[in-house]
Each structure stands twice: as C-alpha cells, then as structure tokens.
Amino acid sequence: MRAFEFPDVEEDEIGRLGDDLSALGERFEAALASVDDGDALDALRLTFLGRNGEITALRRSIGTLPAAERPEAGKTINEAVARLEAQLERASSALTNRELAAQLDVAIDVTFPAPPARTGSIHPLRRTLEDACDYFQRRGFAVVLGDEIETEYYNFDALNIPADHPAREGFDTFYLANGKLLRPHTSPTQIRTMQQHPPPIAIVNPGKAYRRDAVDARHSYMFSQIEGLLVAPGIHLGHLKGMLTGLCRELFGPNQAVRFRPSFFPFTEPSAEVDTTCPGCGGSGKRGDAGCKTCGGSGWIEIGGSGMVHPDVLRECNYDPERVSGWAFGLGVERIAMVRYDVDDLRVFFENDPAVLAQLA
C-alpha cells in the first residue's frame, strides 16, 4: 500500500541517485586511498556501509521514489554496494599481505645461543652394555642379572677352578668375612641359570665384577662385563664367531672382523681370546703417519675371552656333554666403551662429570 502513497516521483529522481552514488564512490575512493591499517579500514566500512552509514541513508531515500522506480534504484544501490565491498575486500587483503610481508621482512640471529634444554642421559657404560644386550635379545637371547656377592662354589668350583688351581690367582678376588666373595667375573650367573633351566639355553648376563686392581687409566677394581652363553645341540665355535662378528659390527661399525686367538680358561675347552678390527685405525695399525694408539699398531683390539663350555662345567649343571654343546664368552664393557667413545683413560667413566656425560650422551 505504501507504493501508492508516492505516485508522482519525477524521472530525474533516479538520475540524482546516480549522481549521489558516484559522488559517494569518489569520496569512498579518496578515503580508501589514505587507509593504511585494519582499524582505519573498519572505520571506513562503517562510514559507508555500516548500519548508520551513507549507503543506508541512500537506501532510505528510495522510499521517496515512485514505486515503479524503486526496484531500479535498489538495484543501482546494490551494485554500488558490491563495488564498494569489492574495493574494501581488495584493500583488506592488500593490507594483510602488507602485514605478512612486513613479518617476513625481519631476520633474527639464528646462531644466538638457545637456553639449555633439560635433558637426561644414560651412562655411556650402560649405553654400551645395552647396545650389546639389544643385539642378543633381538636374536632370542634372554638377559639375566645376578648378585655381586657370590660363593666360591658358583664362582670357582662349578667353573672347573678347584681350590689351589693356579687360575684362581688370576682372579685376584675380594673376600668377605663370611667366606663369600665379590664376584671377579659374571660367570656365576651362567652356572646359576644353567642349574635352573635345562638346555637349550641362550643368555647374556651383564653386570659388575670386582678384582683387586688399583684404579688407573686402564684398570679398575670395579668393572662391567657382558657374558654370553649358548648351549644346545650342535652348537660350535663358528656360531660364536658369527654372533661376535655381528655384535662388533653393531658396536663399532659395519666393517668389523673378529679373530680368535687360542687361550686358556679352565671353564672352556677349546678357549679363545676375541680380537676385533681396531676401529681407531680400521685395522691398518696407523693413524696418519703415527702408530694407532688404540691398538698399539697391531690393527686389532682384544675385547674378551671365549670358548666352548668345558664338559666338566656342563656336567656340573646336569647338562649332558654328549647331547649338547655350547659356547660362552665374556667381554669387558669399559674396554669396548673406551674404544667406542675414544676415551683413553677409563676413569673418565667413573668421574661422572655432568658435562662429560652430556657430551657422551
């Protein structure tokens, strides 16, 4: 019904609306040109397109037009609004781009020292021991621990070292008042495990051991060993060479070789010392023009002893040497760690200097 209230609007009323819009457009563009941040842009939007803005005022004026012209006028205004909004949108994204570009336009000193992260670490000796145990665990070996206080039986007699055997002397054992001792090797754990479990058996038994050695660059009265034991039908020294070669490659690198040298241990027969390629010189015995200090120029480092478990030891554990055979080995963890970390004084490992532990972590 309102349409009939304004029946006689002049044609030039539309033309005036067009003029108003173009003047508005010019003013808008002028204002937009000086906008240089988001707030000013929002203000501009409000001034022209806001609820109480100029466009709203023009829309209101449509009501004064004749009904027939109102749709045309509305369309004209909508077109103008779309133009303004497109311009605003362009300006807005230009502004955003400018701000992002400005953010990109700074550089920090990335070499500036960072505050220290709070990190912990496992000890290099444990890392070495775990790397070795991991290797064996992946191949079906169990890892067994044992007590450090032992009896003469488990430490000596069961290992074919009766009282007065000259080999006992080599162990330089600490004794306690109750006649027990601090184990000078981790082998008692092998006896205990064999006595508890019938064959087949595949274990590594790492742990600390003690001998009456003064502490110096190469010796310590307390040290760590990793021993291994595999007893099953058909086991021979070739299996030991295979496993130790794999172990040395795990610990020192892919090109390691293993060499056996005959030796004597009362609990193994045959017995062998285990050498591996010196990682310090790759087996050449030389570092640059000088002799390799790691291996003394031989190209090999000795890492432990090994052999086929003596039939007497098998029998002591109720294993039948006619039915099963097996090998055992014992490696010195400190020696291996010294070579791996290129440490030439093993006391470094017992000083526990946090800076060194961080360095070797």
Binding site: G120, H123, Y221, L230, A232, G238, G246, E269
Partner: protein
Amino acid sequence: MKLPIAWLRDYVDISLSSDEIAERLALLGFPVDAIERRPKLSGIVAGRLVKVEKHPNADRLSICTVGVAAGKPLTIVTAATNVAEGQTVPVATIGAKLVNLDIAPRAMRGVDSEGMLVSADEIGLEGAWFEDGILQLEPTVPPGTDFVKAYRLDDDVLDVEVTSNRVDAMSVVGLARELAAALGSVVRGPDTEVALTQGASQATTPDTSVTLESADCRRFVAQRFSNLTVRPSPFSMRLRLALAGQRPIDNLVDISNFVMLEIGQPLHFYDFDKLAERRLVVRDARPGEKMTTLDGEERTLDPSFLVIADGERAQCIAGLRGARDSEVSASTRELLLEAASFSGPRIRRMSLALGVRTDASTRHEKTLPLALGSLGASRAAHLLQREGATVAMPFAVGAPIEPPAPIRVSAQDAHRLLGMLVTGDEIQLALTGLGFSLERDGETFVATPPEWRNDLRIREDVIEEIGRVAGYDRIASAIPPVFDQAVSSAAYDGERRIARALAGVGYREAVTFALQPASVRETYERAGIPLPGEVVEVTNPLSEDQRYLRFSLLPALLGLVRRYEGDMPYRGFEIGHIFFGAPDPLETAAVAWVCAIRKVPDEPAWRDDGFLAFKSDSLAFARMLAGTDAVTVATRHGEFHPGKTASLSIHDEDVATIGAIDPRLLAAYGIQSAAYAGVMRLADLPAYRVPRFAERSKYPPVERDLALVVAPEIAAMDIESAVRAGADGVVASVRVFDEYRGPQVEAGKKSIAVRILLQRRDATLTDAEADGYIAAISASLQERCGAVLRS
C-alpha cells in the same frame, strides 16, 4: 717370559721377522706383550790379542796387536784393564756401528788406533752383568768371525705370555716346538749327550740317597757331579741369559738358570760336601725350624712348608729358596743336583705364605710334568760336563714317568666343536708336530700326548690343539638358530626401563665405585643418620679407601652434588647394588635419583617449592614406569628430612620414597644447595599397565575456586578426597593450588585455595546445579577436614 729369538734359533729354523714370529705365537695362544728391539750393530769381528803393551805416553792405555783374520793384524789402543795376550775379544773395526757410536780411525796419544775393543754396553747389554772391561769370547772362536752374525746379536727379544696350563711352554724349547708345529718345520732337541763316569757302578750312587717323606714331592731326580771348576760361563751362555733377563753369575748358577729357561725345569744345586750325612730328605718342616736362605734372611718355618733337608737341617724350601749353608760357591767341588716335581698348590701356598715368588716357583706352582725332571737333569749334565765336571749316574725317587693316557679323537669331533673342516692329514701333521704319538684309522685317531704335557686329558683338549695349529682363522662365521627357552629378562628390562625413564625426566646416570672408606659410615653416624644395617667389610681390601661396601647409593651421589654444585641444578641417578647386614649381607639392587637446586631465598619453613619440583619429576618418572599416576603419602626415611618425606604409591603399593635430604647430611657433605632424592628397590618396580582410554565429556565444565581455613595438619590430599567425596562423579578435577600461614589467618590455622572443575558426562551443568554441588562439597570439607569457607 723373555724369549730371545737368538736362543729360539738353536732349536728351530725360522725365516720370519720378529713381528711375524710374534703374530704366529699370538695365533698359537702365546701373545707377545712387547718386542724388545735389539740395536743394529755391524763391523764387529772376533779378534785374538796377539800382543798387549803399555802405551808409551799414557799409563792407563794399552796398545793391542789384534789378529782378526789372515793378513795384517790391527793396532788398537784401549783403556780397558782386563786385556791380556791370548784372549779372544770382539773388535769393532773402522766403520763399525755400535750403540750410539760409529768407529772411525783416530790417534790416541800419538798412536793410531784401527778400531776398538768392545765391552757389553757398546752392544746394548747390561754393563754390570758382564766383564768390567772388554768382553771375553770363547777361545774356540776363530779370529775374523763376524761377531754379530755368529752370536745372532741382531735378533730381537720377545716378551711372551704363557697361560697357566702350559708350564711346558714356559721355556725356549717349548715355544720352539710350538712354532715348529705351526710352521711345519722340525724342532731340534737340546743336546743331552754325556759320558758317564767310568769304573764306578752306574746303576747306583752308593754314597748318597734321597728319601721322600711327603707325597707333595711327586718325583725327585738327583745326580752327582764332581771335579767342578767354578768360573764365568762361556759368552754364548751369558749372552742368552742376559737377553732372557737373567744376570750371569758363574758357570754353576748359570747352568741351573739356563736349563730352567731352556727346558722349563727348575734345578737346585747343593754343595755336596756341605750336606750333613751326604743325603737328602724331602719332608715337612719341623715346627719352628729355622733356615737362612740365600738372600741372608733367617726364616722360621712350620710344617706347612715342604723342605729338602740333609741329615740335620732344612737345606732348601721346596721350589722357592735354597739355604745359604749348602749354596754352591767358588769353592764348590762336588754338587748334588735336584730336578723335582712338587705339588703345585702346595708350592703356591708356600710362596704366598713366604711372600717369595721366583722364576722357579712360578713354574713349580703349576705342577711340573714328571718327564721334565729327567730331561732337565740330563741337559744340566751335558752342560756341566762341558765345563769339565765328572758326571755320575742320575737316579730318581718317587712316581715313575707314565705316558699320558691316550685320547680318541676324529675329524668329525673337531668339526662338531670348532665349526671348521679339518682333514685327517692335517690332524696327523698338527699332532705329530706337537709331539703326540698317533694311531690312525681313517679319520679317527688314538692320540697319546707327549710326556712333557700335563694339560691334555680329554677329547676337547686335543681338538683345541688341532684348532690351534690349523689356525682359528679357518673357523667360518655362522648364526645359530633361535631356541625356545624359558629364561626371563625381567630384571634387566626393569633396569633398562628405570634408566630410560629417569633420563627422560632430565636426570643423568652416574656410575660410582661400590667400595668406600670408613669415613662414609662415620659421617652418617656423626650426623645422626641411621644406617640400614651392619656395614659390610672386605677382608682383603687394596686400600683403606676401598674397605667397605656401599650401604646406600646416596653418599656417592651427594659426593657428586658437592663436586658439581657449580653446574646447578644437578640432576643425577645411579642404579646399583647396595649391601648391609651381618653375618650374611643382604644385597639389594636399587636406584637413587638426586636433584640439587639453589635454595629459594626467604622461603617460609612450611613451604618447599624445591620439594614440589622434585616431586613432579618423581611423579613423571613413576608415571612412565607404571602407566598410572602415583600417589604421595607422608612417610619417613633415614636419610631424608623427617617432615619432608613421602612415599610414592602405585596401585596401593609403596614403590619408592622421595624426600629432602636430611639437612644434617647436607651439612656433613658441605652441600650449600637444597637437595632432594628418591630411592627405590628394583624389586619394587611396578609393572607397567597399559592405560585405558576415557572419553572426555562433551559438556562444558564449571570452574569454582574455594578458599578454606583448616588446621595445619590437614593435607592437600585430605582436601582433595573430601572434595571428591562431596560430589562424587561430578568432580572432573580438584587441585589445591595455594597455601598460606600467617597474620591473615587465625592463629594455628592455615588457609588453602582449591580449584574445582565440575563437569557432567550427560548434560551441561547449570549454575544452580553447580551451586548445589559446591554446597555439598563445602559440607564434606567441613565434615572431613573441619574446613571453614573463607568469604
């Protein structure tokens, strides 16, 4: 033992270098610890002193005319005083190279000297061990002989390690035999040829006897020698001894040492004329029996010592030391030789008791094979006869030499154990080379070990011999199959989890020594810190610093805190065994973790932010271990502050204790910082339980803070459980976040702030509902904790 390659060549022809010989020995099981390089010498020949005259212009110089070969003799001026006409001496001719010395012509006080007469130092021998002056060679050496070549002076000396089972190889001949077997060459036996005394009956030696009264003397070979002349040994023998590290003395002592080093059988020589009743008895020493040994020390013996006595008194402590009474000396004309085999363990015990260890005792304590005695005696007889002695028939008492029992072995046996293929021919070659006698049937052998070996009893022993000689390098690598077995890795895996979890929360693992001085215990005692039990002592420590086993892991960690206090904060841990209790010590695998931080200045006594920070480390650690959050409850632990100690409880089991280190202990260790520690027995390590998923409520929570006034003994844990009890199932979280004591709160009370998050799982909580829950919570707090809400 020192092995002069020059000596080795007496028994085996080797064309290898010193390094190659060392390598070969190592691969036979005799590692070479060091190669002593001999000096490079040249231009030295044997010369005969034709004429020795005083120098006309110098009292202390002599002019020697030296015949060195066909042709004109040399004129050589020397300052040595031991030169005389007729001597055969080494002569360095012009151009010769000696140790640090090249020989050039020179005039000495107006006389041109055409070379130099040589003394020990100049060829790299220990001067004090040889003539004071010019070396004296055997008169049989023809003038002009190349001295270096004839005496193999350019051969190095190897320091060889011999394992304790191979006493037979603690000798030049033994090692020569090993090398010969490995190289496939022939070993020459030492010359033992001797012409026995004519006339007197050779079957017995009527004027002496040896009686064995102890079974610890297994066999005793005795032999008499007469018409002795004591004098220096020939140079070749002195040279060999010196290279082997043995000082030459005179021909008798030297022969005794020479035979021991060469054959491995220690000998003892008695001056026969000084033996009471001219007989020997091997027996236990009498209680309090005294004997003065060669070194002049009077020893008081007891029956634990085995002695060789004459008719009256002990003349030798078996295998260890002779008596001065019957020692051979320059006046010795007749001697009685002893080549015995004793019980090794007995000799070893005696050696330890006496504090004496000699080249002889190290051999005796390995129980010498019986056959070595006769061999040693006959070699000595040969050498003594060469020195002009009259040799009587040897005789032996004790056990007869029985050949070792034969051992059956096959190529298949060797393959089964060594994992390498060895042919029957190779076995034959290897075992024959080592002195076995063999019966062969195809690939199977009955092998009888040589009589000088006492380490070959079972098949595996023989297989080792085959492998050694064939070479362990032929063993092919193989990977064994995986076997099904029931052995558990749980303890190790537990240690591994703990170490990784503590490293994960920022702690660094330490490894410290398990033996400690008494001061550790004393420090605890002085500080009033209880010990967990009797401290365990080592009966034979190396030093007082290493006498006691650690009873706790904390002292060493506190030592590290003090030492590295500058690197604040210190966070460390150790996994290790601790020991306490008597008479049978308890051994416990444990872990301790320590954090030391700077003290917060002006922190009120009832507050300890350091403890809370440490607690959060410990909770994170426990969470990693258990997969469940631990609960803390106040408790006590000897090394911790009595009011700042909590147990960590997981699944209602106390698994660890954490706390502030007792300030008395900190003071005792001189630690300035605040320090906290946790301790756990590895046996208490909780099992890891896989956490269960709980879906988060989709509905928004309502957060309310309450301020409460409570009695000071009300713990945060009490408040939290009272809150939960007040609105069971709706309390999504509750956290006490502030505590205050002081003038703002009434005396004897503390103020607590608690933040509560209420949330329903099935609907949005309205404000009215929340108010209702808070009212119920307040009532619960009032009832359970006596808490009064502050407005």
